[in-house]
Symmetry: C2
Subunit: 145 residues, 2 copies
DNA sequence: TATTGTTATACTCTATAACTATA
DNA sequence: TATAGTTATAGAGTATAACAATA
């Protein structure tokens, strides 16, 4: 199950460290952006998801990798602010589809636009460099899929 | 304060998306690794910090970017498991230095080793490619510092 | 007076288990 | 009987405000 430990060279460790920094910065900015809209990180993630398409409660839990029971409360709070609504699923009466309201979609859009991280610093790289970065990240991620 | 919105090209958005994926994967794995040692993410981060050097409670809060009052509970729980201890600061009797115990340092080391993310997938890149990735990430991060 | 750590409080997120209404 | 969503519960993280000890 666990891959065998492998001695990492200095270069690899440096890249791992840089990635850890990117992760920390990204998270900070995401939480701050959510807070500017009086949303928690979890609420912002659910809203961003529902702004794309309505989803059954259970699927939201799968995407967020948490227990379905947690989604109830998060959607409750978004619904109380009219950012999200629950609809019946015509095909299965057990299912409730959570969907972003018009206002919810507007909030999600503003939130997305306020996420400058990675976009601003990326502007300092040339197009060729951005393409190189894209290819390297793709290969990094692709091998795990 | 807020930088002016800038229309992002498709390439930039793709890179931003890849970075978001990296962030999600990294976080997942970090939480899982912490859970394998019966630690929460926050506890693991504090322990990793203290495994390097003892720190005043207040400095831990600064590094984690949270309120100092929260650190009390996190260190309490680490201390209850003998992974961390509180020591007086000889120079300022108001200050308490939190320090990892021998067992705490061992746990932190095992935790660090179990973080395969970014290390394993990086193995698929050549040394030249890893160096290129390092330089691009450095430039991305450096411009914000 | 200001600072350090703590306590008290309230809210949110999280997992677990039990419940309901459907299928 | 299995599944979707919910409720109840308990533990943990978080911010805010107020406090004691020390500077």
């Amino acid at each position: 199950m666990t891959p065998p430990p492998r001695p990492a060279d200095a270069l690899t460790l440096e890249v791992v460290d840089l990635i850890a920094t990117v992760v920390a910065r990204y998270h900070e900015e995401y939480e701050e952006a959510a807070a500017r809209h009086s949303l928690t990180g979890a609420q912002a993630r659910v809203l961003a998801l529902l702004a794309r398409e309505p989803l059954p409660m259970r699927k939201i839990a799968l995407k967020l990798k948490c227990e379905p029971s947690n989604i109830t409360g998060i959607v409750d709070r978004l619904e109380a602010r009219d950012l999200v609504e629950r609809r019946p699923d015509p095909d299965d009466r057990r299912v409730k589809l959570a969907a972003a309201t018009e206002e919810g979609r507007r909030t999600a859009a503003r939130l997305r636009e306020s996420l400058h991280f990675a976009r601003e610093p990326l502007a300092g790289l040339s197009e060729t460099e951005r393409a190189t970065l894209r290819d390297l990240l793709r290969r990094m991620l692709g091998e795990q899929a």
